[in-house]
Protein backbone atom coordinates (compact mmCIF):
# COMPACT_ATOMS: atom_id res chain seq x y z
CA UNK A 1 0.00 0.00 0.00
CA UNK A 2 1.28 3.46 -0.87
CA UNK A 3 2.15 5.89 1.90
CA UNK A 4 0.59 8.89 0.19
CA UNK A 5 -1.55 9.00 -2.91
CA UNK A 6 -3.33 11.79 -4.76
CA UNK A 7 -5.94 11.16 -7.43
CA UNK A 8 -6.82 13.79 -10.02
CA UNK A 9 -5.86 16.49 -7.55
CA UNK A 10 -6.87 19.92 -8.83
CA UNK A 11 -6.72 23.45 -7.53
CA UNK A 12 -8.08 26.45 -9.39
CA UNK A 13 -7.40 30.10 -8.66
CA UNK A 14 -10.13 31.92 -10.53
CA UNK A 15 -9.67 30.77 -14.12
CA UNK A 16 -6.16 29.45 -13.51
CA UNK A 17 -5.67 25.75 -12.87
CA UNK A 18 -2.51 25.97 -10.75
CA UNK A 19 -2.62 22.21 -10.20
CA UNK A 20 -4.74 20.00 -12.39
CA UNK A 21 -5.47 16.28 -12.40
CA UNK A 22 -2.30 15.38 -10.58
CA UNK A 23 -1.75 11.74 -9.61
CA UNK A 24 1.18 11.34 -7.29
CA UNK A 25 2.27 8.39 -5.18
CA UNK A 26 4.88 8.16 -2.46
CA UNK A 27 6.12 4.87 -1.03
CA UNK A 28 7.88 4.29 2.29
CA UNK A 29 11.39 5.68 2.65
CA UNK A 30 11.54 7.12 -0.86
CA UNK A 31 13.38 10.27 -1.85
CA UNK A 32 11.36 11.79 -4.68
CA UNK A 33 11.98 14.98 -6.62
CA UNK A 34 9.37 17.42 -7.89
CA UNK A 35 10.57 19.73 -10.64
CA UNK A 36 9.06 22.07 -13.19
CA UNK A 37 9.48 25.58 -14.57
CA UNK A 38 8.54 28.66 -12.51
CA UNK A 39 4.82 28.86 -11.84
CA UNK A 40 4.31 25.18 -12.71
CA UNK A 41 2.32 24.63 -9.50
CA UNK A 42 4.88 22.86 -7.33
CA UNK A 43 4.38 24.99 -4.25
CA UNK A 44 0.63 24.92 -4.75
CA UNK A 45 0.81 21.13 -4.75
CA UNK A 46 2.70 21.26 -1.43
CA UNK A 47 0.10 23.62 -0.05
CA UNK A 48 -2.64 21.17 -1.02
CA UNK A 49 -0.81 18.23 0.53
CA UNK A 50 -0.14 20.03 3.80
CA UNK A 51 -3.58 21.53 4.29
CA UNK A 52 -2.81 25.16 3.49
CA UNK A 53 -5.23 25.06 0.54
CA UNK A 54 -8.34 22.97 -0.03
CA UNK A 55 -8.42 20.96 -3.25
CA UNK A 56 -10.93 22.16 -5.84
CA UNK A 57 -11.26 18.56 -6.99
CA UNK A 58 -9.61 15.21 -6.45
CA UNK A 59 -8.44 13.30 -3.38
CA UNK A 60 -5.40 13.00 -1.15
CA UNK A 61 -5.01 9.84 0.88
CA UNK A 62 -2.46 9.11 3.58
CA UNK A 63 -1.77 5.75 5.13
CA UNK A 64 -2.47 6.06 8.85
CA UNK A 65 -1.84 2.82 10.70
CA UNK A 66 -3.07 0.20 8.25
CA UNK A 67 -5.72 2.26 6.50
CA UNK A 68 -5.78 4.96 3.87
CA UNK A 69 -7.30 8.12 5.30
CA UNK A 70 -8.53 11.02 3.21
CA UNK A 71 -6.72 14.21 4.19
CA UNK A 72 -7.78 16.54 1.37
CA UNK A 73 -9.01 19.83 2.83
CA UNK A 74 -8.09 18.83 6.36
CA UNK A 75 -6.74 21.66 8.53
CA UNK A 76 -2.99 22.16 8.39
CA UNK A 77 -2.41 21.44 12.07
CA UNK A 78 -4.29 18.13 11.79
CA UNK A 79 -2.28 17.16 8.74
CA UNK A 80 0.87 17.97 10.66
CA UNK A 81 -0.27 15.80 13.54
CA UNK A 82 -0.77 12.92 11.09
CA UNK A 83 2.92 13.13 10.20
CA UNK A 84 3.33 15.47 7.24
CA UNK A 85 5.91 18.21 7.74
CA UNK A 86 7.20 20.88 5.40
CA UNK A 87 9.59 23.73 4.85
CA UNK A 88 8.65 26.93 3.05
CA UNK A 89 10.10 28.31 -0.17
CA UNK A 90 9.85 31.87 1.17
CA UNK A 91 11.30 31.01 4.60
CA UNK A 92 8.69 31.28 7.36
CA UNK A 93 10.62 30.98 10.58
CA UNK A 94 9.40 32.45 13.86
CA UNK A 95 11.78 35.36 13.46
CA UNK A 96 11.74 36.77 16.97
CA UNK A 97 12.06 33.41 18.68
CA UNK A 98 15.37 31.81 19.48
CA UNK A 99 16.76 29.15 17.19
CA UNK A 100 16.10 26.33 19.64
CA UNK A 101 12.62 27.68 20.43
CA UNK A 102 11.73 27.41 16.77
CA UNK A 103 12.47 23.71 17.08
CA UNK A 104 10.81 23.06 20.46
CA UNK A 105 7.70 24.84 19.21
CA UNK A 106 7.33 22.18 16.55
CA UNK A 107 7.22 19.54 19.31
CA UNK A 108 4.38 21.28 21.08
CA UNK A 109 1.74 18.90 19.78
CA UNK A 110 3.34 16.16 21.89
CA UNK A 111 3.84 18.39 24.93
CA UNK A 112 3.00 16.39 28.03
CA UNK A 113 2.19 19.12 30.54
CA UNK A 114 -0.97 21.15 30.77
CA UNK A 115 -1.72 24.78 31.55
CA UNK A 116 -1.74 24.25 35.30
CA UNK A 117 1.77 22.78 35.23
CA UNK A 118 2.85 25.74 33.14
CA UNK A 119 1.35 28.31 35.56
CA UNK A 120 2.70 26.65 38.69
CA UNK A 121 5.92 25.22 37.26
CA UNK A 122 5.20 21.74 38.57
CA UNK A 123 7.91 19.08 38.21
CA UNK A 124 6.30 17.79 35.00
CA UNK A 125 6.99 21.20 33.45
CA UNK A 126 10.73 21.00 34.06
CA UNK A 127 10.94 17.39 33.01
CA UNK A 128 9.14 17.96 29.72
CA UNK A 129 10.97 21.20 28.94
CA UNK A 130 14.25 19.35 29.40
CA UNK A 131 13.12 16.55 27.11
CA UNK A 132 12.08 19.00 24.39
CA UNK A 133 15.30 20.95 24.78
CA UNK A 134 17.44 17.83 24.47
CA UNK A 135 15.58 16.67 21.38
CA UNK A 136 15.87 20.14 19.85
CA UNK A 137 19.61 20.14 20.46
CA UNK A 138 19.90 16.76 18.79
CA UNK A 139 18.14 18.08 15.69
CA UNK A 140 20.16 21.30 15.72
CA UNK A 141 23.31 19.22 15.81
CA UNK A 142 22.04 17.26 12.83
CA UNK A 143 21.71 20.43 10.76
CA UNK A 144 24.84 21.98 12.26
CA UNK A 145 23.22 24.82 14.16
CA UNK A 146 23.73 23.70 17.76
CA UNK A 147 26.25 26.46 18.42
CA UNK A 148 23.66 29.07 17.39
CA UNK A 149 20.84 27.82 19.57
CA UNK A 150 20.32 31.08 21.48
CA UNK A 151 20.33 33.45 18.52
CA UNK A 152 17.13 34.93 17.20
CA UNK A 153 16.08 33.13 14.04
CA UNK A 154 15.99 36.38 12.09
CA UNK A 155 19.69 36.97 12.75
CA UNK A 156 20.83 33.79 11.01
CA UNK A 157 22.28 34.00 7.51
CA UNK A 158 20.07 32.76 4.71
CA UNK A 159 21.54 29.29 4.31
CA UNK A 160 21.28 28.61 8.02
CA UNK A 161 17.68 29.77 8.07
CA UNK A 162 16.92 27.13 5.45
CA UNK A 163 18.60 24.47 7.56
CA UNK A 164 16.70 25.64 10.63
CA UNK A 165 13.48 25.20 8.66
CA UNK A 166 14.48 21.59 8.08
CA UNK A 167 15.26 21.01 11.77
CA UNK A 168 11.93 22.56 12.72
CA UNK A 169 10.02 20.35 10.29
CA UNK A 170 11.87 17.29 11.60
CA UNK A 171 10.85 18.22 15.15
CA UNK A 172 7.21 17.49 14.36
CA UNK A 173 8.33 13.85 14.11
CA UNK A 174 7.00 13.37 10.57
CA UNK A 175 6.70 10.35 8.33
CA UNK A 176 6.90 12.48 5.18
CA UNK A 177 9.04 15.55 4.78
CA UNK A 178 8.22 18.09 2.08
CA UNK A 179 11.13 20.36 1.22
CA UNK A 180 10.33 23.41 -0.92
CA UNK A 181 13.54 24.58 -2.63
CA UNK A 182 15.83 23.98 0.34
CA UNK A 183 18.93 24.95 -1.69
CA UNK A 184 17.57 28.26 -2.99
CA UNK A 185 20.10 31.02 -2.37
CA UNK A 186 22.85 28.64 -1.22
CA UNK A 187 26.39 28.60 -2.59
CA UNK A 188 27.82 25.37 -4.10
CA UNK A 189 29.50 24.32 -0.84
CA UNK A 190 26.30 24.84 1.15
CA UNK A 191 24.34 22.97 -1.50
CA UNK A 192 26.78 20.10 -1.26
CA UNK A 193 26.40 19.95 2.53
CA UNK A 194 22.65 20.10 2.14
CA UNK A 195 22.71 17.14 -0.25
CA UNK A 196 24.52 15.11 2.37
CA UNK A 197 22.09 16.26 5.03
CA UNK A 198 19.05 15.20 3.01
CA UNK A 199 20.59 11.78 2.38
CA UNK A 200 21.38 11.40 6.04
CA UNK A 201 17.87 12.33 7.14
CA UNK A 202 16.42 9.78 4.78
CA UNK A 203 18.74 6.99 5.96
CA UNK A 204 18.91 7.66 9.68
CA UNK A 205 15.36 8.78 10.28
CA UNK A 206 13.74 6.44 7.77
CA UNK A 207 11.98 9.38 6.22
CA UNK A 208 10.03 9.69 3.00
CA UNK A 209 11.03 12.94 1.33
CA UNK A 210 9.47 14.92 -1.50
CA UNK A 211 11.84 17.59 -2.71
CA UNK A 212 11.13 20.63 -4.88
CA UNK A 213 14.33 22.00 -6.33
CA UNK A 214 15.55 24.05 -9.26
CA UNK A 215 19.15 22.94 -8.75
CA UNK A 216 19.21 20.06 -11.22
CA UNK A 217 22.51 18.62 -10.04
CA UNK A 218 21.09 18.24 -6.54
CA UNK A 219 17.85 16.67 -7.78
CA UNK A 220 19.53 14.28 -10.21
CA UNK A 221 22.06 13.43 -7.55
CA UNK A 222 19.84 12.43 -4.62
CA UNK A 223 16.40 11.60 -5.99
CA UNK A 224 15.42 8.05 -6.77
CA UNK A 225 12.39 9.14 -8.73
CA UNK A 226 11.28 12.46 -10.18
CA UNK A 227 7.92 14.00 -11.00
CA UNK A 228 7.73 16.82 -13.50
CA UNK A 229 4.99 19.47 -13.38
CA UNK A 230 4.26 21.92 -16.17
CA UNK A 231 1.35 24.37 -16.21
CA UNK A 232 -0.21 22.43 -13.33
CA UNK A 233 -0.09 19.07 -15.11
CA UNK A 234 2.12 16.11 -14.30
CA UNK A 235 3.95 15.57 -17.57
CA UNK A 236 6.46 12.92 -16.53
CA UNK A 237 7.45 10.54 -13.78
CA UNK A 238 10.54 8.35 -13.71
CA UNK A 239 14.14 7.83 -12.70
CA UNK A 240 16.57 10.73 -13.14
CA UNK A 241 17.96 9.03 -16.28
CA UNK A 242 14.49 8.69 -17.83
CA UNK A 243 13.59 12.27 -16.97
CA UNK A 244 16.78 13.65 -18.53
CA UNK A 245 15.90 12.09 -21.86
CA UNK A 246 12.14 12.61 -21.80
CA UNK A 247 11.25 14.81 -24.81
CA UNK A 248 8.25 16.40 -23.07
CA UNK A 249 10.42 17.45 -20.16
CA UNK A 250 13.05 18.90 -22.50
CA UNK A 251 10.31 20.78 -24.30
CA UNK A 252 8.86 22.13 -21.05
CA UNK A 253 12.23 23.50 -20.09
CA UNK A 254 12.58 24.78 -23.70
CA UNK A 255 16.07 23.64 -24.37
CA UNK A 256 17.35 24.43 -20.93
CA UNK A 257 19.94 21.95 -19.79
CA UNK A 258 18.22 19.26 -17.75
Amino acid sequence: MALLQTKRLTRNFGGLAAVSDVNLTLEDNELVGLIGPNGAGKTTLFNLLTGVYEPSKGTIELRVGKEMQSIGGMKAHKVSQLGLARTFQNIRLFKNMKVYENVTLAMHKDCKYGLLSAFLRLPSFYKEEQRMYDKAMELLKLVGLDSKKDELAKNLPYGEQRRLEIARAMATNPTILFLDEPAAGMNPQETHDLTELIRKIKEEYNMTILLIEHDMSLVMNVCERIYVLDYGRMIANGTPEEIKHNPRVIEAYLGEEV
Partner: protein
Protein backbone atom coordinates in the same frame (compact mmCIF):
# COMPACT_ATOMS: atom_id res chain seq x y z
CA UNK B 1 18.40 25.57 32.34
CA UNK B 2 16.95 25.63 35.84
CA UNK B 3 15.84 22.32 37.20
CA UNK B 4 13.17 23.36 39.68
CA UNK B 5 11.15 26.17 41.22
CA UNK B 6 13.60 26.59 44.09
CA UNK B 7 16.73 28.28 42.77
CA UNK B 8 18.73 31.47 43.17
CA UNK B 9 16.94 33.46 40.50
CA UNK B 10 13.51 32.78 41.96
CA UNK B 11 14.87 33.68 45.40
CA UNK B 12 15.92 37.05 43.94
CA UNK B 13 12.42 37.57 42.58
CA UNK B 14 10.84 36.69 45.91
CA UNK B 15 13.13 39.12 47.68
CA UNK B 16 12.30 41.90 45.22
CA UNK B 17 8.58 41.28 45.62
CA UNK B 18 8.83 41.41 49.42
CA UNK B 19 11.09 44.49 49.47
CA UNK B 20 8.75 46.48 47.24
CA UNK B 21 5.80 45.46 49.37
CA UNK B 22 7.56 46.35 52.63
CA UNK B 23 8.66 49.69 51.22
CA UNK B 24 5.17 50.71 50.14
CA UNK B 25 3.56 49.38 53.30
CA UNK B 26 6.13 51.34 55.30
CA UNK B 27 5.35 54.55 53.43
CA UNK B 28 1.66 54.00 54.08
CA UNK B 29 2.43 53.29 57.75
CA UNK B 30 4.35 56.50 58.38
CA UNK B 31 1.69 58.48 56.56
CA UNK B 32 3.72 59.65 53.54
CA UNK B 33 1.36 57.81 51.21
CA UNK B 34 -1.85 59.48 52.32
CA UNK B 35 -5.32 58.53 51.23
CA UNK B 36 -5.04 60.53 48.02
CA UNK B 37 -1.78 58.88 46.99
CA UNK B 38 -3.17 55.49 47.87
CA UNK B 39 -5.91 55.94 45.31
CA UNK B 40 -3.23 56.52 42.69
CA UNK B 41 -1.31 53.52 43.99
CA UNK B 42 -4.31 51.20 43.72
CA UNK B 43 -5.23 52.61 40.31
CA UNK B 44 -1.71 51.99 39.06
CA UNK B 45 -1.69 48.40 40.37
CA UNK B 46 -5.08 47.63 38.82
CA UNK B 47 -4.03 49.22 35.53
CA UNK B 48 -0.92 47.07 35.51
CA UNK B 49 -3.01 43.93 36.05
CA UNK B 50 -5.23 45.00 33.15
CA UNK B 51 -2.27 45.90 30.96
CA UNK B 52 -0.32 42.68 31.44
CA UNK B 53 -3.44 40.63 30.78
CA UNK B 54 -4.13 42.60 27.60
CA UNK B 55 -0.47 42.32 26.67
CA UNK B 56 -0.86 38.55 26.77
CA UNK B 57 -3.53 38.80 24.07
CA UNK B 58 -1.97 41.56 21.96
CA UNK B 59 1.75 41.33 22.59
CA UNK B 60 2.27 37.62 23.12
CA UNK B 61 -0.41 36.13 20.89
CA UNK B 62 -0.68 39.00 18.39
CA UNK B 63 -4.47 39.31 18.52
CA UNK B 64 -5.47 42.95 18.53
CA UNK B 65 -8.28 43.23 21.06
CA UNK B 66 -10.01 46.52 21.83
CA UNK B 67 -12.54 45.17 24.28
CA UNK B 68 -10.64 44.53 27.47
CA UNK B 69 -12.80 46.83 29.59
CA UNK B 70 -15.76 44.54 28.85
CA UNK B 71 -14.16 41.70 30.77
CA UNK B 72 -13.18 43.99 33.60
CA UNK B 73 -16.85 45.02 33.69
CA UNK B 74 -18.02 41.41 34.05
CA UNK B 75 -15.60 40.83 36.91
CA UNK B 76 -16.57 44.09 38.62
CA UNK B 77 -20.32 43.45 38.60
CA UNK B 78 -20.21 39.75 39.44
CA UNK B 79 -17.69 40.37 42.22
CA UNK B 80 -19.58 43.37 43.61
CA UNK B 81 -22.91 41.54 43.73
CA UNK B 82 -21.37 38.58 45.51
CA UNK B 83 -19.51 40.74 48.02
CA UNK B 84 -22.66 42.75 48.70
CA UNK B 85 -24.45 39.59 49.77
CA UNK B 86 -21.44 38.25 51.64
CA UNK B 87 -19.21 41.08 52.87
CA UNK B 88 -16.38 38.96 54.23
CA UNK B 89 -12.97 37.99 52.95
CA UNK B 90 -14.45 34.62 51.95
CA UNK B 91 -17.08 36.53 49.99
CA UNK B 92 -14.34 38.46 48.24
CA UNK B 93 -12.53 35.28 47.27
CA UNK B 94 -15.77 33.73 46.00
CA UNK B 95 -16.44 36.97 44.14
CA UNK B 96 -13.03 36.89 42.51
CA UNK B 97 -13.35 33.26 41.47
CA UNK B 98 -16.92 33.51 40.18
CA UNK B 99 -16.05 36.77 38.41
CA UNK B 100 -13.19 35.01 36.66
CA UNK B 101 -15.38 32.08 35.67
CA UNK B 102 -18.09 34.39 34.31
CA UNK B 103 -15.59 36.48 32.43
CA UNK B 104 -13.89 33.37 31.08
CA UNK B 105 -17.21 32.05 29.77
CA UNK B 106 -18.19 35.36 28.22
CA UNK B 107 -14.78 35.70 26.59
CA UNK B 108 -15.04 32.19 25.17
CA UNK B 109 -18.41 33.06 23.63
CA UNK B 110 -16.85 36.20 22.17
CA UNK B 111 -13.65 34.46 21.08
CA UNK B 112 -15.05 31.71 18.95
CA UNK B 113 -16.66 33.89 16.28
CA UNK B 114 -14.37 36.89 16.68
CA UNK B 115 -10.90 35.31 16.62
CA UNK B 116 -11.44 34.15 13.05
CA UNK B 117 -11.00 37.76 12.07
CA UNK B 118 -7.68 39.51 11.67
CA UNK B 119 -6.16 42.89 12.38
CA UNK B 120 -8.57 45.79 12.09
CA UNK B 121 -11.62 43.57 11.82
CA UNK B 122 -10.74 41.79 15.04
CA UNK B 123 -10.20 45.12 16.79
CA UNK B 124 -13.60 46.41 15.71
CA UNK B 125 -15.39 43.16 16.58
CA UNK B 126 -13.90 43.00 20.09
CA UNK B 127 -14.78 46.65 20.59
CA UNK B 128 -18.35 45.87 19.56
CA UNK B 129 -18.62 42.97 21.97
CA UNK B 130 -17.32 45.04 24.87
CA UNK B 131 -19.98 47.66 24.12
CA UNK B 132 -22.61 44.94 24.01
CA UNK B 133 -21.53 43.75 27.46
CA UNK B 134 -21.71 47.31 28.78
CA UNK B 135 -25.15 47.93 27.29
CA UNK B 136 -26.50 44.66 28.68
CA UNK B 137 -25.26 45.66 32.13
CA UNK B 138 -26.81 49.10 31.67
CA UNK B 139 -30.20 47.56 31.05
CA UNK B 140 -30.39 44.87 33.68
CA UNK B 141 -32.38 45.10 36.93
CA UNK B 142 -29.83 43.38 39.10
CA UNK B 143 -27.02 45.74 38.08
CA UNK B 144 -29.20 48.81 38.75
CA UNK B 145 -28.92 50.12 35.19
CA UNK B 146 -27.08 53.29 34.33
CA UNK B 147 -26.77 54.49 37.93
CA UNK B 148 -24.80 51.37 38.81
CA UNK B 149 -24.03 49.73 42.13
CA UNK B 150 -23.23 51.84 45.17
CA UNK B 151 -22.34 51.00 48.75
CA UNK B 152 -20.28 48.02 47.82
CA UNK B 153 -18.45 46.91 50.98
CA UNK B 154 -14.81 47.93 50.93
CA UNK B 155 -13.07 44.58 51.11
CA UNK B 156 -9.89 45.36 49.21
CA UNK B 157 -6.67 46.84 50.52
CA UNK B 158 -3.28 47.50 49.00
CA UNK B 159 -2.08 44.13 50.29
CA UNK B 160 -4.80 42.25 48.42
CA UNK B 161 -4.25 44.20 45.21
CA UNK B 162 -0.52 43.62 45.46
CA UNK B 163 -0.95 39.87 45.95
CA UNK B 164 -3.30 39.75 42.96
CA UNK B 165 -0.80 41.68 40.85
CA UNK B 166 2.05 39.34 41.76
CA UNK B 167 -0.05 36.24 41.09
CA UNK B 168 -1.27 37.60 37.76
CA UNK B 169 2.29 38.38 36.77
CA UNK B 170 3.51 34.91 37.73
CA UNK B 171 0.72 33.22 35.79
CA UNK B 172 1.28 35.33 32.67
CA UNK B 173 5.06 35.15 32.68
CA UNK B 174 5.10 31.41 33.36
CA UNK B 175 2.54 30.88 30.62
CA UNK B 176 4.59 32.94 28.18
CA UNK B 177 7.66 30.84 28.89
CA UNK B 178 5.97 27.48 28.53
CA UNK B 179 5.37 25.42 25.44
CA UNK B 180 1.78 26.70 25.40
CA UNK B 181 3.03 30.26 25.50
CA UNK B 182 5.49 29.57 22.70
CA UNK B 183 2.57 28.30 20.65
CA UNK B 184 0.91 31.71 21.12
CA UNK B 185 4.10 33.56 20.23
CA UNK B 186 4.49 31.43 17.12
CA UNK B 187 0.96 32.42 16.08
CA UNK B 188 1.94 36.06 16.47
CA UNK B 189 5.08 35.49 14.41
CA UNK B 190 3.58 33.49 11.55
CA UNK B 191 0.16 31.88 11.58
CA UNK B 192 0.70 29.72 8.52
CA UNK B 193 4.00 28.32 9.79
CA UNK B 194 2.57 27.76 13.27
CA UNK B 195 -0.35 25.83 11.87
CA UNK B 196 1.96 23.79 9.65
CA UNK B 197 3.93 22.82 12.77
CA UNK B 198 0.81 21.36 14.34
CA UNK B 199 -0.47 24.32 16.36
CA UNK B 200 -4.25 24.53 16.56
CA UNK B 201 -4.70 28.25 15.90
CA UNK B 202 -8.22 28.60 17.28
CA UNK B 203 -7.35 26.76 20.44
CA UNK B 204 -4.33 28.85 21.35
CA UNK B 205 -5.84 32.17 20.36
CA UNK B 206 -8.79 31.31 22.61
CA UNK B 207 -6.48 30.22 25.42
CA UNK B 208 -4.66 33.57 25.46
CA UNK B 209 -7.91 35.49 25.10
CA UNK B 210 -9.68 33.64 27.91
CA UNK B 211 -6.73 33.84 30.33
CA UNK B 212 -6.50 37.56 29.57
CA UNK B 213 -10.21 38.04 30.19
CA UNK B 214 -10.13 36.12 33.47
CA UNK B 215 -7.29 38.22 34.82
CA UNK B 216 -9.05 41.41 33.71
CA UNK B 217 -12.04 40.22 35.75
CA UNK B 218 -9.85 40.10 38.86
CA UNK B 219 -8.94 43.74 38.32
CA UNK B 220 -12.68 44.46 37.95
CA UNK B 221 -13.66 42.80 41.20
CA UNK B 222 -10.84 44.52 43.09
CA UNK B 223 -11.82 47.86 41.58
CA UNK B 224 -15.42 47.45 42.70
CA UNK B 225 -14.50 46.42 46.23
CA UNK B 226 -11.96 49.20 46.68
CA UNK B 227 -13.73 52.18 45.15
CA UNK B 228 -17.18 50.91 46.27
CA UNK B 229 -19.07 52.42 43.34
CA UNK B 230 -19.36 51.05 39.82
CA UNK B 231 -21.44 52.09 36.86
CA UNK B 232 -21.41 51.03 33.22
CA UNK B 233 -19.73 54.27 32.09
CA UNK B 234 -16.51 53.28 33.82
CA UNK B 235 -16.10 50.33 31.49
CA UNK B 236 -16.60 52.18 28.24
CA UNK B 237 -14.43 52.19 25.14
CA UNK B 238 -12.23 54.83 26.81
CA UNK B 239 -11.17 52.38 29.49
CA UNK B 240 -10.12 49.83 26.87
CA UNK B 241 -8.09 52.52 25.14
CA UNK B 242 -6.45 53.53 28.42
CA UNK B 243 -5.28 49.97 28.93
CA UNK B 244 -4.16 49.67 25.33
CA UNK B 245 -2.11 52.86 25.68
CA UNK B 246 -0.20 51.35 28.60
CA UNK B 247 0.54 48.22 26.58
CA UNK B 248 1.67 50.12 23.49
CA UNK B 249 3.62 52.63 25.55
CA UNK B 250 5.54 49.93 27.40
CA UNK B 251 6.10 47.74 24.38
CA UNK B 252 3.91 44.98 23.02
CA UNK B 253 5.07 41.67 24.40
CA UNK B 254 7.07 43.12 27.29
CA UNK B 255 5.48 42.65 30.72
CA UNK B 256 8.25 44.75 32.26
CA UNK B 257 7.31 47.46 29.80
CA UNK B 258 3.64 47.30 30.82
CA UNK B 259 4.60 47.66 34.48
CA UNK B 260 6.87 50.65 33.87
CA UNK B 261 4.36 52.29 31.54
CA UNK B 262 1.57 51.67 34.05
CA UNK B 263 3.56 53.44 36.76
CA UNK B 264 4.79 56.31 34.58
CA UNK B 265 1.40 57.05 33.04
CA UNK B 266 -0.27 56.68 36.43
CA UNK B 267 2.05 59.26 37.97
CA UNK B 268 1.70 61.65 35.04
CA UNK B 269 -2.04 61.36 35.42
CA UNK B 270 -1.84 62.18 39.11
CA UNK B 271 0.38 65.24 38.69
CA UNK B 272 -1.78 66.58 35.90
CA UNK B 273 -5.00 65.95 37.81
CA UNK B 274 -5.52 69.67 38.65
CA UNK B 275 -5.31 70.63 34.99
CA UNK B 276 -7.90 68.38 33.45
CA UNK B 277 -7.75 69.72 29.87
CA UNK B 278 -3.99 69.92 29.86
CA UNK B 279 -3.86 66.33 30.97
CA UNK B 280 -5.60 65.04 27.87
CA UNK B 281 -3.40 67.16 25.63
CA UNK B 282 -0.24 66.02 27.37
CA UNK B 283 -1.39 62.42 27.19
CA UNK B 284 -2.09 62.66 23.49
CA UNK B 285 1.23 64.39 22.76
CA UNK B 286 3.25 61.83 24.69
CA UNK B 287 1.58 59.01 22.79
CA UNK B 288 2.27 60.65 19.46
CA UNK B 289 5.90 61.17 20.48
CA UNK B 290 6.28 57.56 21.53
CA UNK B 291 4.82 56.38 18.25
CA UNK B 292 7.25 58.58 16.32
CA UNK B 293 10.44 57.89 18.24
CA UNK B 294 9.89 54.42 19.68
CA UNK B 295 7.15 52.70 17.68
CA UNK B 296 8.04 49.44 19.43
CA UNK B 297 7.26 51.03 22.83
CA UNK B 298 9.61 51.87 25.68
CA UNK B 299 11.05 48.38 26.04
CA UNK B 300 10.11 46.74 22.76
CA UNK B 301 9.86 43.07 23.63
CA UNK B 302 12.67 43.15 26.20
CA UNK B 303 12.12 41.89 29.73
CA UNK B 304 13.90 42.55 33.00
CA UNK B 305 15.38 39.32 34.37
CA UNK B 306 17.89 38.55 37.05
CA UNK B 307 19.73 36.13 34.78
CA UNK B 308 20.07 38.90 32.19
CA UNK B 309 21.38 41.21 34.92
CA UNK B 310 23.97 38.65 35.91
CA UNK B 311 25.13 38.23 32.30
CA UNK B 312 25.54 41.99 31.90
CA UNK B 313 27.35 42.27 35.23
CA UNK B 314 29.67 39.43 34.31
CA UNK B 315 30.81 41.01 31.04
Amino acid sequence: MNKGVINKLNACWLLLIIVIYALIQGLIGVGILNYYYQITLITICLNIILAISLNLVIGVCGQFSLGHAGFMCVGAYVGALIVQSNPTIVGLIIGLVVGMIFSGLVSLIVAIPVLRLRGDYLAIATLGFAEIIRIIVQNMEITKGASGLTNIPKMTSFTIVYIALVLALIVIVNFGRSSHGRACIAIREDEIAAEAMGINLTRYKCTAFVIGAMIAAVAGTLYATYFRVIKPDIFSFNKSIDILVIVVFGGMGSMTGSIIAGIVLGLINMFLQPYAELRMIFYAISIVLIMIFRPQGLLGTKEFTFSGLRKKGGK
